[in-house]
Symmetry: D3
Subunit: 316 residues, 6 copies
């Protein structure tokens, strides 16, 4: 495959628009998980992708696999666990000033029982890019070791290692997240980091281009992408500065935008210029915000049309 | 309890978003009614509240009680009526330039048969605040007497009497509403009035602070709150001028905002400053607009976070 | 009747808001078709209208007729075809930057088998206005002849002939559409054309008033209306220039706006001034955008209130 | 028209299957009313039908008219009333042993304000058959006079007068219903009566053929149809006994079956044998039970296929 | 209160009818839990009831409380836990031969952290009857001690102790369940046991009356009720044999029937004969099966009408 | 793969239960097609399966592929066609006596443009079993040649050729279907035929075992399976008679049962006895009837439990 990634998947359960978690009669079901989202987005544009994880052998775990399979993601390295639970999260999509609020239910899941030694690293790392995130490092006791191992195994086999900091305050402290990034840095070829995380975790300051430059210097990483929501994305890319604006979006459901952005960057890394990486990233992020759920299932043609700004409002 | 209120409740029946009342296949059901909304909003933030009314002893009437009970509102003074109908209203939520339009169906209801002598006024008025509205005064033949009696009974027992003018052109003429307010004024400790109503009913003019001041003088009321939608709220509060801006809101369903505002003001009256009263009011109003239905079911923590402006868009 | 129109109807199948055609669990069903939309909009405001078409004698074809009948459109000239299929289109309503995208499924339908000689032209043309569109000319092999015949038959009986260019790139080339318009021009009394189509089909340039004037001159037509979306509409109307701004709209579902606009213009042509024609057109267009589906079912009172700008946000 | 009928229409509001009225999040909307159901069923099989009533000029009243128009029922004699309410009923469809339970909300409706002198009886009675029911006689104060007048006016113009006893304990006492039937009897040409009503209202006994015979003798009516649910229907028809079994049905929603039965009998009366009348009646009754709502919208071909017992389970 | 009970509550998440857990787009939400179901059913018929548990202080935990409050259950002894998860279960309602299948997700919940010493036993046991179940004994590590303590505390205060064996193979082995019952037996005044559990756990044999008698003898319990699904229920009641048939039901959703049965028995124990206890139990069980979800929310009047067999299919 | 099959896929669009195609507000979407259903059912129990077809390169065609991919069916031989339409069918699921009725919309589809020479027969036939049906032979002009070619290519490579007669009166005459079967017979190793088709197409008579025997003799086929709905299935299997009863089912949606049966037989052919083939077939058929849609997505464990009759109604 071109990209291999590893992490936990969950079901996301959401009330219909305008309804509250505490009262709604039904919950919409979507498959979620940062790396799974990246994998689905990449496979949807035609990039061969593998996703590794541990799933319970229940209808819920099987549902996760069905969803990823329907997008074409390879799942041969997934470990099936009897008698475990699947991670869940409940997401009430907000409407200003009501915030989107999330109830995580990710303790004691099948993924917690996955140890680095369970995996066939040759299979997992048989890829041009290994994509990892800070969520996986923080999600379970000892899962930081899993991410570190994956980075090392990938590096050892000559893969490009990408890392999305993706800090979640509900999963770890900023200090823990920062020190893990420091530990992982020597193995990282491409770093993706929100401007906010660059400030909160690493004590940096300044505008996004400065942050990208400083992160590159601080960690000695050749390619650093810094995102700042509606302000778009910038990169320090092997000595060049690149940037792409965010696209105007209506924002049906903002969850999943960061993962879609990462997918666009990885896709550009595989077959485009640094500018392509950013513009595909912002196009995919905005498309992810235009649909319910965490996934971004758009074809290459659909993404590129948006990236080019060529879309008309109605096509008929 | 801390707050006692009295009025009619209804079922509100609404088409799904973007559909019309004349065509839609289904109607969403919500419990509504100005004072019931205030009671639910107050109970949801933890203020002990009682609501008094007349309800038919049918699944529809019981449904109203279930809804208020689930929020923790005390219902021991409600009168159950066999063989009566429940008030209803049909509300098609608009989308500019299509207005939100309402078909009232409130004639001949159980509440029409409620007379002041049916009530145990000791129980109804056992509260720090008695909250009343102009809707109740206008909704049924003779219901103005009920509101006047409640204000008198409350005053006699030392409760603070709050009155929300809440003019509805479908229920009475502006003249009737104005002259009732004049009659009730001697018993009112806190007046809530839309700027628009101050102008249309009482012939006042000027900006909201002027209106508040003039209402206070005209009626000899110590605390007067004037609301003006997107322009926020101002108060003349025992000689001081206070104000709070409206919060930016997306406005899923604007109905219920006025009642939620009143609840925030009463909550602030119980345990906060005049500024707290207004900022809780505008926070609760904007939260009410962010959800379907007329009710505002948010915890104190949720409201205060919005009132402080501390919310982030996604919490995870 | 006052207005008679002729064209194909379809079922439109749409995912719920925020869902994709490729994934959604259910499709909402709406009856559609440019002239059928015009007929429904006119009948809804009280204008007697007839619609002529060919429909399959299946539950799907019957459904189209039920929908138009419920609005009061006369269907006595519709031809019922056994063993034919109904046209369909799948419309995923977008959310910026995701475009609204349409999958047409209009080949080999019952309408394709309708020939001009099948129709009773006395019945079809018994009207003050005959309304035709470029969609019908392009939708089936030989259907241009049908439109031409209708214009001729109408003209011969003294009816006013209206033509909405309504270009669809999925149905014909710009050249074909332009040359058909040239052929039809001698029979046209009122031309409706998007500014974009005036440029793309007829090689005109300039602002909308210029386009209207140039179209009038080029084709020798007395009344020409040019629309330009959010910029509103202008007309060259027997030597006078008229214009109307677009109304601010939230835009739940923009499909159907053009047909609703045409209906408003025809209604104004029947009993109002040129200015009325444009302002009813823009009011109906914006109302059509405020509801799901392609149809615009508003009463005359509702439309005129919006056209006057008199609506308040909530009516109660 | 062939059949003219007169009565009140309502909206029926029902929870989804398996849900309770006291709790459900949404209510499904169906247009209902005994005579309106008969009119829709007849128009659906192709019998020209008129329905006369009073409707409020609101979106709710308009919805009733749209529904009947879509089936092709003529509504030119309907009186439109401003400022009135539409009748409603809430129907929770049961599931043994939970009964289907109904909350009527039919007091003070537009129909209550309809007086016999409001109607153009020439138009109302311009039909081969006038169909009336005991529900209309009982539904409003003085509406018995309306039914009596309709029967007299019909008789005077040579129409066949049909009467469906259709007793509702929630609308009148058995005594009142019985004495009204006695008063109306001289004008009745075709009587339809449930076996249960024959016993409870008229004190008759015996099996259905006996009941039909005794009703015919008691009232001096030439054609009497007696229904007994799962036991089918029998008729005393100008001296002959006829019968038809009920069809096996699954019973999705049994409401509306009686009205559909009456429509089948009237259809048979117009163009078939007495046996056709009963078998069309039982076929239409069973089809009505197979769909949600009170209406029976099946084509003549669909009904006759079921009446012949020729249907296969899947048609493809 | 009259009845006090203690146990875990969960959210039950179920696909729509005919859909599978592995594929469905949405999950219906119902509050569940054996003792919570009993409490809701009792409060719904008017019996004062308290329910004790531990709930997470999240929207999910609050939802459980809202649901029970709306039925009138007292919740003052519930312990609110920050940072814990709520138990869940996913239930796909089957359709023969597809079984109803359940995915439990009840590990590590707030209830697991509840210890006997956390509770105010005076408050918990201030009741005529303490109701306990085998599910609670099995659901968490050490929760058997909680049940034992509750029985002892109840007995010490003179309450009647009821115990529903309610064996769940997914929670414990038959041996564990049986030996716990033996340990609890000296404190039990009323035992409820499925015939199947009597055989599988306690090695008994014979028909239900024999099983009831043998259980009474084996455990020295004065009142023993044995249920056997469609065969109804029997009791050994202070030396007398009593029985009640099951009612014919359509079985929309069979889950919750056992809990509803127990509620009926407890209600009968409070104010009726042993025969009443069983017939209320079977009526409530069959009503529970006629609605979605685990709860049985019927009024006393509704239950007694079914218990008397007096219901007619449609009430109008 | 173990099984390779070839045919057209469609979207099936169905109203919700109890609603009619002519009126329903929404249509549920399911992927359908006889051979695609067989492929999904086989892949779901773990049999490696390939499906070959022509699909339009639109969101509708991609949706078909996503659905099959999610079950694990190999699609590498599918031909993607630009500018073609996908087959559709509208299925209103009946409720006695209302029949399930189908509106086919399968003319002019992408599959019509597939010719035998387009396919890589080495890839298509790389399987132990080639499964074909009479639907494919009848669905398009010249598609009989495609089926014949597939049988020949399969036979030439040593695959077992299975053929399901699956007669559809809407697609061809009985004579055409029968003569095609005669032409194909020399290449068939396993024939599946409904008893009804054996009679109507081939003029045979007698009970199912006789029909199976006569078909085997008439066509010289070693294994012949005859199904007769609720009477189960019988086989003439290399000289032995085998049979399996149908399972009691509630029948939520009977469409797809025949295809699921065929899948069960093929699965048994691969790794079981003739008796296993039939009992897996009847188990899968009954499971298919217990879910909405045409597909049968059950795991091997779920099917075998039903085939063994071991299931309990609720599993918890
Ligand atoms: Ca994520
Ligand atoms: Ca999203
Ligand atoms: Ca209100
Ligand atoms: Ca609201
Ligand atoms: Ca159109
Ligand atoms: Ca629209
Ligand atoms: Ca009726
Ligand atoms: Ca029905
Ligand atoms: Ca339970
Ligand atoms: Ca249940
Ligand atoms: Ca099929
Ligand atoms: Ca099925
Ligand atoms: Ni969604
Ligand atoms: Ni979603
Ligand atoms: Ni979704
Ligand atoms: Ni809602
Ligand atoms: Ni709502
Ligand atoms: Ni709601
Ligand atoms: Ni819609
Ligand atoms: Ni729509
Ligand atoms: Ni719609
Ligand atoms: Ni319906
Ligand atoms: Ni319905
Ligand atoms: Ni439910
Ligand atoms: Ni439900
Ligand atoms: Ni429910
Ligand atoms: Ni389905
Ligand atoms: Ni489905
Ligand atoms: Ni379905
Ligand atoms: Ni489905």
């Amino acid at each position: 495959v071109a990209v291999s990634t590893l992490g936990e998947a969950m079901l996301r359960l959401s009330p219909p628009s305008g309804e509250r978690l505490r009262e709604c009669g039904e919950l919409r079901v979507h498959v979620a998980g940062a790396e799974a989202n990246v994998a689905v987005a990449l496979a949807s544009v035609g990039v061969a992708t593998r996703w590794t994880s541990a799933l319970p052998d229940t209808p819920l775990g099987r549902r996760v696999a069905d969803s990823l399979s329907s997008a074409g993601v390879a799942l041969d390295t997934v470990r099936w666990m009897p008698d475990e639970r699947l991670g869940l999260y409940f997401a009430e999509i907000g409407s200003a000033p009501r915030p989107t609020s999330v109830v995580y239910d990710r303790t004691g899941t099948a993924f917690w029982s996955l140890s680095a030694d369970d995996l066939d690293w040759d299979a997992v790392c048989d890829a041009e890019i290994i994509h990892l995130t800070g969520i996986t490092a923080a999600v379970a006791p000892g899962s930081d070791a899993l991410v570190l191992r994956a980075a090392r195994e990938g590096r050892a086999r000559g893969a490009t290692v990408a890392y999305d900091v993706n800090y979640r305050s509900r999963l770890s402290s900023a200090e823990t997240a920062a020190s893990f990034a420091v530990e992982l840095a020597p193995y990282i070829d491409l770093l993706i980091c929100r401007a906010e995380d660059a400030r909160d975790l690493f004590g940096l300051a300044g505008d996004p281009p400065t942050l990208a430059n400083d992160l590159a210097k601080k960690f000695g990483i050749g390619r650093v992408v810094v995102t700042s929501g509606a302000d778009g994305a910038v990169a320090w890319w092997e000595g060049d500065s690149v940037s792409a604006p965010a696209l105007p979006t209506v924002g049906v459901d903002r969850i999943g935008a960061g993962d879609a952005f990462a997918a666009g960057v990885l896709w550009g890394l595989l077959d485009g210029s640094p500018g392509d990486a950013l513009s595909r990233g912002t196009a995919m992020a905005s498309l992810a915000m235009s649909v319910h759920g965490d996934q971004c299932r758009f074809t290459a043609e659909e993404v590129l049309e948006v990236a080019r700004g060529a879309g008309r409002e109605v096509r008929r």
